[in-house]
């Protein structure tokens, strides 16, 4: 850990120097939204001050510069995911938007009555509901990979679920509640043996580990900017050209066409085909800056540091009386979900806020996970590169305080 200078990193994030209820902010909700470093904030401001113009159509300098900056981020993202063909990177509004895009553009074309789509029991609602809607609409069936008590997917059942009826596997890279890192590469290999495409929800994956989509082999990989030190309003859909070209367009409008007459519209090639209307240009630039920031530190270093922090936090929290953890898989990201006997998660969350500690409480948009473990809600602490051992100690102390109030 000598090489990982967390104090220097913390100085890059203005919000981490602020207070809540006269206590230094202890931000443990990066799984929902990560904070932004000064470089990202500066990039956004600079665009608004000096670079703002619509892209792709203007022939004047300001527009051409904005276009170049926007397209340069596409190249950055392609490099970030180890994608060779930059056209396979689609800008979206976020993970939810990207999944809905695939559910419409792939689903309405390739999924028919009697077909099946496989998801897992640990998905976020955004990787359940769009598929459910699709199934309802076309008469297909949703199949669910079960999870074990420690929060791992049952791969034997998964293998049995794969059939000639399966038209897509949609699975999360990392569970937003349990922290489980799923064996995507193996799962893709099993699906591809039957020529079934695989979509990976990388919202909790890409921010925390090096993602090489060529190595994973998946057909779609999706993530959001705001969970990786970027702004809201921007997400990425990586899709294999083979699929993107055959998929229907999703939204219609400007920028996604070659020609329009009242008789017929010819669509643009990818990626423009899926980017109708003026995109969130400034958010894309912010995401590009965030990727540069994370890569300068190194995703491998961040992952190593988070593992140390998660191990320390798990041990420290284990000492708390009457704590129950949800998700204890060996291969786990920096997410810890728990409950304290006799104190509802929302009361914990409110009392922790008194001490400046920001955690997530509730069902985390993953109600099936709550149902699986028979709890109405959990408290979730999620860590990122700027969190410290001291943050963990404050979390533990604050939980003990809350416990005292209820004892």
């Amino acid at each position: 850990m000598v090489e990982f200078d967390v104090e220097r990193i913390r100085r890059d994030f203005p919000v981490l120097a602020t207070s809540v209820n006269n206590k230094p902010l202890v931000y443990l909700d990066s799984g929902a939204s990560a904070q932004m470093p000064q470089s990202v904030i500066d990039r956004i401001n600079h665009y608004h001050q000096y670079e703002h113009a619509n892209i792709h159509r203007g022939v004047y300098q300001l527009s051409e510069q904005a276009t170049a900056a926007y397209e340069a981020v596409r190249t950055t993202v392609a490099r970030f995911l180890n994608v060779a063909d930059t056209s396979e990177i689609i800008f979206t509004k976020g993970t939810t938007h990207a999944i809905n895009l695939v559910a419409h553009a792939y689903g309405r074309k390739f999924v028919h009555a009697g077909d099946e789509i496989i998801v897992s029991h640990m998905e976020h609602h955004s990787n359940i509901v769009p598929w459910q809607q699709l199934c309802d609409e076309v008469g297909a069936t949703l199949k669910v990979i079960p999870i074990s008590d420690i929060g791992e997917l049952d791969l034997e059942v998964y293998e049995r679920l794969l059939s000639d009826k399966t038209k897509l596997v949609a699975v999360t890279h990392v569970s937003n509640v349990l922290g489980t890192v799923n064996p995507i590469k193996d799962m893709v290999a099993l699906a591809h043996a039957r020529e079934i495409p695989v979509l990976v929800d990388g919202a909790q994956g890409a921010p925390h580990m090096k993602v090489d989509v060529q190595d994973l082999g998946c057909d779609f990989y999706i993530f959001s900017g705001h969970k990786m030190c970027g702004p809201t309003g921007i997400g990425i859909l990586y899709g294999k050209r083979h699929w993107l070209e055959r998929m229907n367009p999703y939204e219609g409008g400007g920028d996604m066409i070659l020609s329009v007459t009242f008789e017929k519209t010819t669509y643009a090639d990818i990626p423009a085909k899926f980017e109708a209307g003026t995109p969130p240009i400034v958010s894309a630039l912010g995401l590009g800056e965030a990727i540069d920031y994370l890569e300068a530190i190194g995703l491998d270093s961040i992952e190593r540091y988070e593992k140390v922090l998660t191990k320390y936090a798990t041990e420290a929290l284990s000492d708390i009386k009457d704590i129950t953890f949800y998700g204890t898989a060996p291969n786990k990201a920096a997410v810890i979900s728990f409950n304290i006997k006799g104190v509802h998660a929302h009361d914990i969350g409110t009392l922790l806020n008194d001490d400046g500690v920001a955690v997530r409480t509730g069902h985390h948009c993953a109600q099936p996970v709550m149902q699986r473990y028979k709890v109405p809600a959990t408290t979730r602490a999620s860590f990122y590169l700027y969190n410290t051992i001291d943050d963990v100690d404050k979390l533990v102390a604050s939980i003990r305080n809350a416990q005292k109030i209820f004892s």
Binding site: H344, H346, H363
Partner: protein, 161 residues
Amino acid sequence: MSSKQIYQEVILDHCKKPRNWGMITNPTHKAEGINPLCGDHLWVSMTVVDEKIEDIQYEGESCAICMSSGSMMTTKVKGKAFADAIALAEQFRSLTTGPSAADEAKELGSLTVFSGIRDLPSRVKCAMLPWHTLTAAINSKDEASTEGDQDPVPGSGTQKT
């Protein structure tokens, strides 16, 4: 304000020893309340004679704010006429969402411990849910929800995502 001021003795007492806890067998009025934010889930059952609440019980699974609010609610409305119970529910709503403590009605009595909840907008729904459910039971609606309730913090969690 510190939320520790909310979690004061009276609330914790009702949370640990909820009054009128349970479900009336063969109730004349009954409703279920759900708050998708916390997963709070409760039932209010009543025996009503001539629009007067002769008996009321509640049970469910919820956070401390909701649990204690429900417990105190049952002690307040038991024996009251529908009209008075509805008026009290309205006063409680003003107490928890209103702009200031100045208009606190005398009838609220010990319920005024919830006045501080207005400083915790994301928790207002927790305190209001038992009262919503009571109103639903009076109107014999099957299910109450904090959905569509005027939300001091838009998107603070009532959406069923």
